[in-house]
Symmetry: C2
Subunit: 331 residues, 2 copies
């Protein structure tokens, strides 16, 4: 295993400590709960937004805690849901009279942890709601999921509800916005290589030098099919076709287009993919109104990328364009 | 070779086209010269800043063209200096009564191209100066270099001269600032894996599964030594010791600390390294006044990282903190 690492068991806390040391004015860190929170939380004048999920997807979600995005994140270990008590503690720390929204990518483990935490928080009279994100079109059910998986599209839900919360929207309104953004967001990814979880020490799955996994999950779960490595043009064509036909997106639509790197793919290749996807959409009569190129939701050191489309309207456009201040720039 | 790529010969132009399509309001692209320029250039009220260098180091330098940073970049092919006529054309496009500064990382090929371009530009009555960056402490001479190499520290020179140019400083003053920042900037890197240039199609050098290259160059040039893979703590200790002792940085100094990913290393590992480096500096009585964690100057898909320190004073601190607007966020 070739990583910058000390003890694999300390990988997540050491990363979180580095993140906190790099952002002393804006973030706080509680190592007992893997808890990264805004330094200015709790704030009673806004709904608080919390996301957990496993680690290994950075910058999601600990690195998007900040003004206009998340109020707190409480990741589990690499590719593992956070314990319910991490989520409960996060909800306690950022609880607000206006309420707390728990965002959950749709995986069975995360769903269980968050639903239990929601129940426990409600028992403590914390006003709380939960919202599930499931933007991955690749497969219906999967290794760790009943229903669709939540992947890089979660960024758009976080950004939209974060902006609405900052603007003072109430909890019902924020849930409405989050569900709406999730309902018009679609993603599909492709892996060129497997990733290596620190505690495993070896690649998560076998893949030949001339193979790719089309529709891969962000924990290395199988996608639609194992295929031969083809050109960037052919890969983008397949991702676009799968994503566009799913909503479906159609001629005249204005969309946000995201090319998300899975961790081991350099930004040069991501811009190359972006150009192909932009032109492909233009040919379909779909306008790219906003674009996002970089790493948003990764899978450790996996070489690969995903393509996300969001159907824009005035409301979503405005929420995505609102200012935000987080450790890494992702918009 | 596992990359998102069509024809390897089209790798750079396809990346640049994607970059231009993603930034239609702020950037222009001329495919004849690999030329990415600010859409609002030339501007006669400021010195223009140009950087070429080979491709494969993205976001350096094409993705830091924008307000407060570069006015234009004209990269060569992957790891190849731009032809002198690319540099000359870039200087023509952004020429200003206040002058043009050409920034060059210290490699023999780049030096030749830029010095020839400077001569040709001067013959066309373009007011032009050239500044060399050589922040890498690893080795004195190297495969492609007489003297020290320019690596990720070039970001700080670009940021400082870009801010000074935006504030209206004249060419002499900007050269003074650039030389000053370069004189207090030191970097050393380490590779865990080799990178694969598109046209070669296979890794640039051999490295065993339990080996690292300490002091690696950003084109995969040999560093100080081949070593056994050790813990992140030990790697950071060696990088810090090499960098700190070189200027030297000493107790009471206020520094900018950058942990730069070389392309294939996920940001989780970079923050882990950051935490270790921050604590190591604190133990030495050196204060981290500004920090930078992410990809600034990469080596294609190489897994690895570099550590840069800049000695801060009021002038440099202010220039680094000045606003800038570029496609990717690197500060």
């Amino acid at each position: 295993m070739k990583k910058f690492i000390n003890d694999p068991k300390a990988f997540v806390p050491e990363m979180l400590k580095g993140l906190a040391l790099a952002n002393p004015d804006t973030l706080t860190y509680d190592s007992n709960f893997n808890l990264i929170a805004r330094a200015d939380s709790p704030r009673n004048d806004k709904v608080s937004i919390v996301q957990g999920s496993g680690s290994g997807h950075e910058p999601a979600h600990v690195m998007v805690v900040g003004k206009g995005m998340l109020d707190a994140a409480c990741p589990g270990d690499v590719f593992a849901a956070p314990p319910a008590d991490f989520v409960l503690e996060a909800a306690r720390r950022v609880k607000s009279d206006k309420g707390v929204l728990l965002l959950v990518n749709n995986y069975t483990g995360d769903k269980m942890a968050f639903e239990m935490a929601e129940e426990l928080a409600a028992a403590e009279d914390i006003k709380v709601r939960t919202l599930f994100i499931d933007d991955d079109v690749a497969v219906k059910d999967s290794t760790y999921t009943i229903g669709r998986r939540g992947v890089a599209g979660n960024f758009f839900v976080i950004k939209a509800v974060g902006a609405a919360a900052e603007a003072g929207a109430d909890l019902d309104e924020i849930v409405r916005i989050g569900e709406k953004v999730n309902s018009v967001t679609r993603t599909m990814g492709v892996a060129l290589t497997a990733c290596t979880p620190p505690s495993k020490g070896s690649p998560l799955f076998e893949i030949d030098d001339d193979e790719i996994e089309v529709g891969v999950g962000i924990h290395g779960e199988p996608g639609r099919r194992r295929a031969k490595l083809v050109s960037a043009n052919e890969i983008v064509a397949e991702l676009l076709q799968s994503v566009v036909s799913d909503l479906p997106f159609s001629q005249g639509d204005d969309v946000a287009l995201m090319i998300n790197g899975l961790g081991g793919t350099p930004i040069s290749e991501l811009y190359l993919l972006y150009g192909i996807a932009h032109e492909g959409l233009t040919q379909k009569g779909i306008t790219v109104g906003r674009n996002y190129v970089g790493e948003y939701c990764t899978s450790l050191d996996m070489a690969g990328a995903s393509l996300t489309l969001v159907k824009l309207d005035d409301e979503i456009r405005e929420l995505l364009a609102a200012p935000a201040e987080i450790p890494v720039r992702v918009f």
